[in-house]
Each structure stands twice: as structure tokens, then as C-alpha cells.
């Protein structure tokens, strides 16, 4: 599978954010799946072979911390980039300690996001 065919799961309760990310990622050649809350995210993770997850924190049903914690407890080791409006350092440190691979605060540029996604995908590839 080439890098460009990889599937990215976008999890955010705001439709405008999902739409923006879907467009940016699709244009960059990725396949995109979306979820609007934490519970839906866990369902999608079990249904699809996802390469990377962009995860919001504040969401209904299950929040981003709970999704991340649930995944890592069950040894689902897909790279996760937290993408959130929360700028405070403790939220960053908590996310990374729970098993996130990166933490980006909104607003962010699509270009930086794409660069960070590439870095994470490269490091998650067993043959690299």
C-alpha cells in the first residue's frame, strides 16, 4: 500500500472541521473516514483498517481522552494526533502520556498538519 492510499479517520463533532479536514486530506491523496463522536470513532476503528487518527478532545458520547485510553488499553496502536482547541499544557501532557503521538492546537495550517501526518506514518511503518 502506498502512503497516498492510506486511510485516515477524522473524529470531530463539528461538521465544518470534518469538512475542512476531509477536503485537505483527500486533496493530499488520503482516503478519509469520519466520525462525529467518540463512540462512533471506536466503531469505525474496529470496522476499517485505519492508518492514522485525527482526534478532537471535547465531544459528546465519549471524549477524545476516553477514546485514546480505550484504544491503548486494548493495544490498538494506530498513531493518534490530537487536534483540539485546548491550548493548555496539561491537556497536551495528559494526551501524550495516554498514548497520543502528537498534539496540534486549532487554528492550524493544513500544510503543517500534512507534514506531521507524514512524520507519524513514516515512524509507524515496520519496514522503515
Amino acid at each position: 500500500m502506498t502512503e497516498k492510499q492510506r486511510k485516515i479517520l477524522v473524529v470531530d463533532d463539528e461538521q465544518t472541521v470534518r469538512y475542512f479536514l476531509q477536503r485537505a486530506l483527500t486533496t493530499a491523496g488520503y482516503t478519509v473516514i469520519t466520525a462525529s463522536n467518540g463512540r462512533e470513532a471506536l466503531e469505525k476503528i474496529s470496522q476499517f483498517d485505519v492508518s492514522l487518527i485525527l482526534l478532537d478532545i471535547m465531544m459528546p458520547e465519549l471524549d477524545g481522552f476516553e477514546v485514546l485510553d480505550h484504544m491503548r488499553q486494548h493495544e490498538v496502536n494506530i498513531p493518534v494526533i490530537m487536534l483540539t482547541g485546548i491550548q493548555e499544557i496539561p491537556a497536551k501532557i495528559d494526551s501524550l502520556a495516554l498514548g497520543a503521538d502528537d498534539y496540534i492546537t486549532k487554528p492550524f495550517s493544513a500544510e503543517e498538519l500534512l507534514a506531521r501526518i507524514q512524520v507519524k506514518l513514516k515512524r509507524a511503518k515496520p519496514t522503515s
Binding site: 476503528i45 474496529s46 470496522q47 476499517f48 483498517d49 485505519v50 490498538v76 496502536n77 494506530i78 498513531p79 499544557i89 497536551k92 501532557i93 501524550l96 502520556a97 498514548g99 497520543a100 503521538d101 502528537d102 495550517s109 500544510e111 503543517e112 507534514a115 506531521r116 507524514q118 512524520v119 507519524k120 515512524r123 509507524a124 511503518k125 515496520p126 519496514t127 522503515s128
Partner: protein, 242 residues
Amino acid sequence: MKILIIEDDHKIIELVTRTLKTAWVETNLLSTVYGEEGVELVKKEHPEIVILDLMLDDMDGFEVLRQIRLFSDVLVVILTARGDEDNKIRGLQEGADDYIVKPFSTGELVARMKSLIRRKDITEATATVAVKPSTRRLSIDFANQKVSVGGNLLRLGPSAYELLYLLVTNEGVGFSKQALRKQVFPEHSNDTTIVDVFIDKIREKLEEDPKNPKMILNDGTTGYKFVGSYSMVREALKETEG
């Protein structure tokens, strides 16, 4: 843990050193204010992670990164006062694993470094598992639906046998959990948990270490596959049940 700091500001070296010594009890910290010496230290000392400033006296940090990447896959975190978008993207595209802007939180620096190291460990562990097949011998008597490992007959129920049969006879082929559910548990709803439960049961009996399976592997996040070898047995297995 061997860490190399390439940074022209002695105060930052001191701060980072103090921080990292608290975070990792056994830390071997190397530091230099020169880019050229930094590249040499990566070559000679093989640090696990490099913290790289962009503004050095003798060389530009990007050039240091470029030279390191010519021969090394070491984790590199850029730590710099240059916070603009263009430099961030350039750093990440040219091979840095992270890009942190000064002034920075020492807690965040440590959390980000730990995250990078954890990911590297996971990737390396996955790669190791993939090249080490199990040495246990699996025998299957298809006529009598009996399975044995190393001469010991396994007690498997009909569903577990069917699941194992499907995977073993399609050795190396990944099946999605949904496909396995449809095949083996057609009366069950869309919930694939039943498949996970039965795979766990089979691994418990089949694998030397069920927590590190070597015969029935996860196929991506959504499926399973059988790897390894098996032999077919025509006679019913008559050994005492193990």
C-alpha cells in the same frame, strides 16, 4: 537512554539537562554547541534521540539535520526560537520527528520525547514479531476434526474448530472479523466481539504465549490471519488429551 543536545545557548543546555535527568533516571546526556561536532557525535555515540537547535554558531540547524539523515534514522526533535510556519514545515519535511518552539514547557518536551520513543518501540516490536515464526507443530486431522499441538490434543468446540480450520486452510490470508463472523456465527448480529472471544480461546490453547501470538496474528486492526505451518493427520489422534 543516550540523548544528544546540539544547542548554542548554555542556559538551555543546562535546563534541558536538568529536566531530562529527572525524567529518565539513567540518562547519558551529551551536548555540544557546534553543529559539526553534533553530527560526529551522532556517528560515534549513536544516541537514541537528538535535540537540535536551528541557530548554531558554525552551521545552520537544517544543514545539521540534513547531514544526520544521510546516515542515521535517529529521533530528532528541533527546539528553536523560530516559530514561523515555513520553518516548522521545512523541519518536519526534512526529517525532524517533532518541532518545538521556544519558550517551551519542559513537561511538554519530556512528554513529546516519551511519545516518540514509545512509537519507535512499538514499531520495532511489530517488526520483530513479523520475522519470528512459531516453532510449535500444529497437526490437524480434518476427517475427525481434531487438532493437536506438539502431540497434545486440543479441546476445541465446533465453532472454535471451524474458525481455526478457516484460518489454517487459508494460511497467510487475512480475514476481516466481519467475514469470519458471517462464516462461523451466521446467526449472530453484526457484532464481531464473538469472533474476538473465540480467537482468544483458541490462542489460549494454541500459542506458547497467548499474549504474544505467533500463529494467529492480527491482520491490521480489523482481522486475523494464520501464519506458520501445519501437517495433516489422517488417523484420529489417540494420544491422551492434554
